[in-house]
Each structure stands twice: as C-alpha cells, then as structure tokens.
C-alpha cells in the first residue's frame, strides 16, 4: 500500500482532489441558484423559493430532476457539430478554470504535504486567462449553431462584449502583478501577508511593508466590472437579454444541454469571485494580524450562534418536515462550531479555507445584489463603458502603479 502510494501518490491525490472539487462546485452552483433567487426575492419584497422543502432548500434538487426529465428536442436546421459541442465546451472550460485556484495554504494530511487546490503552477493567472479566453467559443458556437436569429444576435453580442472587456480585465490585474512580481496565484496571496496589520496588507488597501500606500482599489474596480461583463451577468447580460432576445444564445437549448450552460455560468461566477478574492482581498489570509491568536476562534463564534438561530427558528417552521430538517441543520452547525473549539488542530487547518469561503461568499453576494438592484445597460452604453472608461482607467492604473514602485525603489 505504502509502496504504491509512494509511486503514484501525486496521481491518487490529484484524482481525489478533482473528484471532490467537482462535487463541491456542482453543489455550490445548485445552492448558488437558490441563494440568488432567495436574495433577489427579498430585495424585491417577495419570498423567493418556499414550497419545495423548508425555505425552498430542496428547490435545486427539484430543478435538477426537471432538467434531467425534460424533453430535449433538436431544432430543425441546426449545425449539429456546433450545437452539441457548445454546451460541453462551456461547462468543460468553466470547470477547468477552477483547477488553478488555490483555496488555502499548503496543508499536510497524514504526513503528506499538498497544495490546497488541484494544480499549483507558476503561471496560474495566465493559465486562468487562457482558459477564460476560450470560453467565448461556447457562447458564439451555441448562438451560431442554433439556426435562430435571436441566438445568433446573442452569440454576436457576447463575442463583441468578451473581446472588449477581456482587454480591460487583463490590464486591470497588471498592477497586482507589478506589486507581487509573480504570475502564481499562491505567491500573490502570500505576498499580501506582509502587511503591518492583517487586512491592511491586502492589495485593495495596500499598506504592506514593501509598498506602503500602494492601493489597487482602481484595479479592483476595473477587474470586477470587466469580470461581470465577461461572465454575462447583470448589468452586462446583453447576450441573454430576455426582453429583446428571448434568451439569447441558449434560446434553442433545453433539458441537460441548457443546464450545462447554466452550470457553466454559475461556475464562472465562482471562479471570478475566487480570483478577485485572491488578487485584491488577500485570498485565504485572515483580516486580523497573525499574532492575534484569539481570532482563530472566529469560525466557532460565527457557526455556533448561526446554528442556534437556525435551530430555534426551525422548530417554529410551518411544516413538520421543516420542523425536523431545520433544527437538524442548526444542531449540525452548532456541533461543528463546538467541535472546532474543542479540536485546535483541525481549527488551525480550516482557518485559510474558512476566510477564503467567507470572502468568496461576500463577492458572490455582491454579484447577486447587483442583479437585484441594477437595470441592464444599453448596447452602446456597454461598448462606451468598456472602451472609453474601463480601458483608459486600467491603463492609467498600470502607469500610476509602476511610477509609484519606481519612486519607492529610488527613494
């Protein structure tokens, strides 16, 4: 057993990690749709999903069953190669891009040291951009292959939008690269750890020891705007503007093929949230200085009250099923928090992933918040914003950042 592990250890660990990540991400996608519908519902003074399971918690499962059981008609006159290839490509690229994301610092499990993510490569940021650069084909091919004018318009819009915003997105991270001096996402996070006071070292604030006062807040703004446009989300969701284009590029898709586009879109959202967390918000770093060891109990302090609240709110739920399930979830959360309190070794292990999750969740919530708040751009406004505002501002950010670094190096 040990001999086999010594020889194929990397392969075994990588395979296990890939399977785990895909399962976690697909579940996260499903519950992201639930969260989105809930949050937007409450923003618009509605309840959101409420019928399937307590607080609509089983809605994603019902949606999944529906996707599998729906008829999958093949429209007439489609270009079969493009039509079938497009959803696969979208989903494949979206899932692949998660492979280079580091979700936490290196961990040692049973004496085997490994990185907290699938691949730890020295050009992970470039690799990520390379994968996202290809993702436009999924949408373009779907739009073109469907033999439908609305689909074609959606595909065309999407190609134009992605070409326009890719430039701004790539340029907006150059400031971070100049500070970090590396293309590895892991090293970019580690470089942000040398702040004087925890979160002050993050790139968005920029009071680290080496580059005091070098904030990347402009870069962060440009990156996030361009990233929203790249993932075709409100207020840049013109490729699937339902009031003008029915559903845009995926009008002619049904059943699992539609679900693939859907999962691809939500996975892209998660990837972008992870990336902005890593580049600008210190990745898995805690917002508190490393010397404040008491803050390591923050996960417990959050989990226990949350669990208790879910428990006591749940026992008063309308349905009997809810009165069983919700207190169950509540007690699991409470026990988890207490367990972390009791087992310091495990508590240390989950510090990085915990903060990473919290930050990614905050970014995702912001995404949904924007969708619930903002109207859609007009097409000319979209192009103007990309070319006349985002691009010059990100170039200015590159110039300012490099000038600042040069000035610090001389002074």
């Amino acid at each position: 057993m040990n001999a086999i592990f010594a020889q194929y250890g990397f392969l075994i660990v990588a395979t296990v990690k890939i399977i785990l990540l895909v399962l976690i991400v697909l579940t996260a996608d499903a519950y992201l749709t639930w969260l989105e519908r809930k949050v937007i519902g409450h923003i618009q003074a509605r309840w959101g999903p409420y019928r399937v399971g307590p607080h609509g918690l089983l809605q994603p499962l019902a949606d999944g069953i529906k996707f599998i059981l729906k008829e999958d008609p093949l429209p007439e006159g489609v270009d079969k190669k493009a039509y079938f290839f497009a959803p696969f490509l979208t989903l494949m690229l979206a899932l692949t891009s998660l492979a280079v994301i580091p979700f936490g610092p290196d961990i040692t499990v049973f004496g085997y040291r490994t990185n907290f993510g699938i691949a730890d490569i020295n050009i992970s940021l470039l690799a990520l951009f390379a994968i996202t650069a290809l993702s436009v084909y999924g949408i373009a091919l779907a739009g073109w292959g469907s033999n439908n004018k609305y689909s074609l318009l959606g595909g065309l819009r999407s190609s134009a939008q992605m070409i326009s915003y890719e430039l701004a997105m790539t340029l907006s991270v150059v400031g971070v690269l100049l500070i970090a001096g590396t293309l590895s996402l892991k090293e970019i996070v580690e470089q942000q750890a040398n702040g004087n006071l925890g979160l002050l070292g993050w790139n968005i604030i920029g009071f680290s020891k080496d580059h005091a006062g070098l904030t990347q807040i402009i870069g962060c703004f440009c990156f996030f705007m361009a990233a929203i446009a790249e993932t075709n989300r409100v207020p840049f969701d013109l490729p699937e503007a339902e009031s003008e284009l029915v559903a845009g590029y995926h009008t002619e898709y049904a059943s699992m093929k539609f679900a693939m586009f859907f999962i691809g879109e939500y996975t892209a959202m998660i990837t972008v949230s992870c990336l902005s967390t890593i580049l600008f918000f210190g990745g898995w770093l805690s917002p508190f200085p490393a010397s404040w060891t008491l803050t390591h109990y923050v996960p417990s302090v959050i989990l226990v009250p949350l669990g208790l609240w879910v428990f006591f709110d749940g026992i008063r739920y309308e349905t009997i099923f809810g009165r069983i399930v919700l207190p169950g979830i509540g007690s699991v959360l409470t026990l988890l928090g207490l367990g972390l309190f009791a087992a310091p070794a495990i508590n240390e292990l989950i510090q990085g992933p915990f903060w990473f999750f919290v930050k990614v969740f905050a970014v995702l919530f912001f995404y949904i918040w924007m969708r619930g708040t903002l109207p859609r751009f007009r097409y000319d406004q979209l192009m103007d914003f990309g070319w006349k505002i985002l691009l010059p501002v990100s170039i200015a950010n590159v110039v300012l950042t490099s000038a600042f670094i040069l000035w610090r190096m001389q002074g």
């Binding site: 270009d79 020295n122 951009f129 650069a133 373009a140 190609s159 992605m162």
Partner: protein
C-alpha cells in the same frame, strides 16, 4: 516510449489533423474551429518544451483573441457553405509536384539535423517567464518597442479606415 514523447505525438497528430481539417471542411466556421485546434495543440507543444509563457500567450492571443475575431466576422457576414468547383489544372499539374517537393525538402532537413536539436529545458527550477521578460526589456528593448509602435500605427490606421465615411 516516454510520457513526454507520447504527449508530443498526440499533440503533433492533433495539430496536423486540425490543419488538414481546416482545408477539407467546407464551412468557414468549421475551418476556423479546426484552426483553433491547431493553435491549442501548438500551445501544448510549447508547454512540453518548458516555454509556459509562450504557451499561455499562444492560447490567449491566437486561440482567444485572433480566432474569436475570425469566428465573429464569419458569423457577422453569415458566410455559408463553400461551393466546390472543379480543381484547376494548375493545382493538379504544378501544385501536387511542388507540394511533394516541399515535403521532401522539409523531411530531408529534419533527417539531416536530427541529433543537433537543442534539448528542451524541462526542469521546473527555471523561471523562463522572468528570464524572457528580462531579455525583452534589456537586450531586445528596441525591437520590442518598435513592434509595439508598429501595432499602435496599425490600430490608428484601423480606426481611421473605419471612420472614413463620417
């Protein structure tokens, strides 16, 4: 056969397959997709030689930006199926022998130079990206800047051409 050699043959095969398909496909979009396959295989080959930066840029610039423009224009013009005409006599009587001759010359050159090819730097200790950028901004800074200038001129030219009617 080592794993690297196996991967090389798979990627090289894909590249050749894509190139052949590019010519044989009758629809412009399918041809463009075949060309993307060629670009991606080339990126894989660069990666195999330890040139990770070139590989990533190959995908971002050629696989992404350039080919997206190709596909975009084909979709915008709504170009239909290519019509097959009878091949011209010139292609049969001059093209085929010339193509064979070219293949022979390339094969001969490869056969002669085998053994002299520089070994790829395949260890992870190198950081070719950093070395590459240092070279670009020290030794080759003038060609690099001149190229950027050329591209800028092309961009301005494109804008002027596009705005001519107003």
């Amino acid at each position: 056969m080592s794993a690297a050699l196996l991967i090389f043959f798979v990627l090289a095969g894909l590249a050749v397959l894509g190139a052949v398909a590019l010519i044989l496909q009758s629809h412009p979009i399918h041809s463009a997709l075949s060309l993307i396959l060629v670009m991606l295989s080339l990126a894989g080959l660069y990666l195999l030689m330890g040139a990770e930066f070139v590989a990533a840029v190959q995908i971002i610039v050629y696989g992404g930006a350039v080919m997206v423009l190709f596909v975009f224009v084909i979709m915008l013009l709504n170009a239909g199926e290519e019509e097959r005409t009878n091949f011209s006599k010139l292609a049969t009587f001059a093209g085929v022998p010339l193509a064979l001759a070219l293949g022979g010359v390339i094969a001969a050159a490869i056969a002669r130079s085998s053994g002299h090819l520089p070994a790829p730097a395949a260890n992870g200790a190198l950081t070719p990206t950093r070395e590459l950028s240092k070279l670009l901004f020290s030794e080759f800074v003038y060609p690099f800047e001149l190229t950027s200038f050329l591209i800028l001129v092309a961009i301005i030219g494109a804008i002027v051409l596009a705005q001519r009617e107003n």
